[in-house]
């Protein structure tokens, strides 16, 4: 559950249900049900089993079972669903693909969530050993895992919170550590 003051930006994969009350940007995949509350502002592609929208959503939606856009809801984006309910008063614009199987062609396979990103990299090239990631090497020195982008996004959030906890114990160190960084950057 993300409360009305919470904010998430990045890629999320959740085993289970999710209820969003705040700001959400990026990409969200939920194996269970997804609820977007009245106050929520979502700019993300969403995937879930039952998806119900009562807030503002801008992005594609895949519902493996049913999508409900309530009267207070507004959805702008393409939709792949098995069943669709739109209540009077709701706002909706986008392409609708509907029926059994419509949601299957989408990137909504729950188990392989981390898989899609690496999929493009292993192109069947002749030099199998060197291939690993010619494009990735300059970016990330470790050529091993194609999955890290998933983990990276939440990481900065976690760091910030940890810093906050440290700050309670020893108020001085964290700011001191940061200041030199800023100074260095400025110096350059």
């Amino acid at each position: 559950m993300l409360g009305p003051r919470d904010r998430v930006i990045g890629q999320m994969y959740i085993e289970g249900d999710l209820r969003v009350g705040g700001v959400l940007e990026g990409e969200v995949e939920v194996t269970g049900d997804l609820e977007i509350d009245d106050m929520a502002k979502v700019k993300a592609s969403l995937a879930g089993r039952d998806v119900s929208i009562r807030g503002h959503v801008n992005g594609a939606v895949v519902a493996r079972k049913r999508l409900i856009v309530a009267r207070s809801g507004s959805l702008i984006g393409d939709v792949r669903v098995e069943r669709l309910v739109i209540q009077d008063g709701a706002t909706f614009s986008g392409q609708v693909s509907m029926g059994p199987g419509a949601s299957k062609g989408a990137p909504a396979k729950p188990v392989e969530a981390p898989a899609p990103p690496p999929a493009p990299t292993p192109e069947p090239e002749p030099d199998a050993k060197v291939v690993i990631a010619p494009a990735e090497k300059p970016m990330v020195t470790a050529p091993v895992i194609p999955a890290p982008p998933v983990i990276k996004t939440p990481a900065p959030v976690a760091e910030v919170r940890v810093a906050g906890k440290d700050g309670r114990g020893k108020s001085a160190p964290p700011p001191i550590q940061r200041k030199p960084d800023k100074n260095k950057k400025k110096g350059r």
Binding site: R66, L84, V85, I86, F92, S93, Q95, V96, M98, G99
Partner: protein, 126 residues
């Protein structure tokens, strides 16, 4: 809501045109009143000043334009509802849709692009 609309139409004294199971309509129709298709065969281009209702089990292949459109049967073709489009439980709609308000009941099936908003923007994009 729907029944209200019907009784209103009678009060309006607006003409009402009903296509029954043994009727057939093919071609271009422009009509100021309300139109109901209940069974029968309807194909073409219908521009209606009032409301259109497509009854249960009725199949219509047409470009439809009306104030309120209520679909309980099957429709194939572009559709414009100047006010509201309602898809009933058994409804099937295949085609792009422009509406001001939209209500889809559980069980209805829709395939196409939905554009919602006022009609001044009647996108001459094509």
């Amino acid at each position: 809501m729907e029944t209200d609309g019907q009784s209103d139409s009678k009060r309006d004294g607006q003409q009402k045109f009903t296509l029954g199971p043994n009727d057939s309509l093919e071609g271009k129709l422009t009509f100021g009143g309300h139109m109901t298709v209940n069974g029968g065969h309807a194909e073409g281009e219908f521009r209606i000043g009032g409301n259109i209702e497509i009854g249960n089990g009725t199949v219509v292949k047409a470009l439809l334009e009306a104030s309120n459109v209520t679909i309980k049967g099957e429709v194939e073709g572009r559709l414009t509802a100047r006010d509201k489009l309602t898809l009933g439980k058994q409804a099937k709609l295949n085609g792009d849709v422009q509406v001001r308000r939209l209500q889809i009941e559980d069980g209805a099936s829709l395939n196409g692009y939905v554009r919602m908003g006022d009609f001044e923007q009647q996108a001459p994009g094509s």
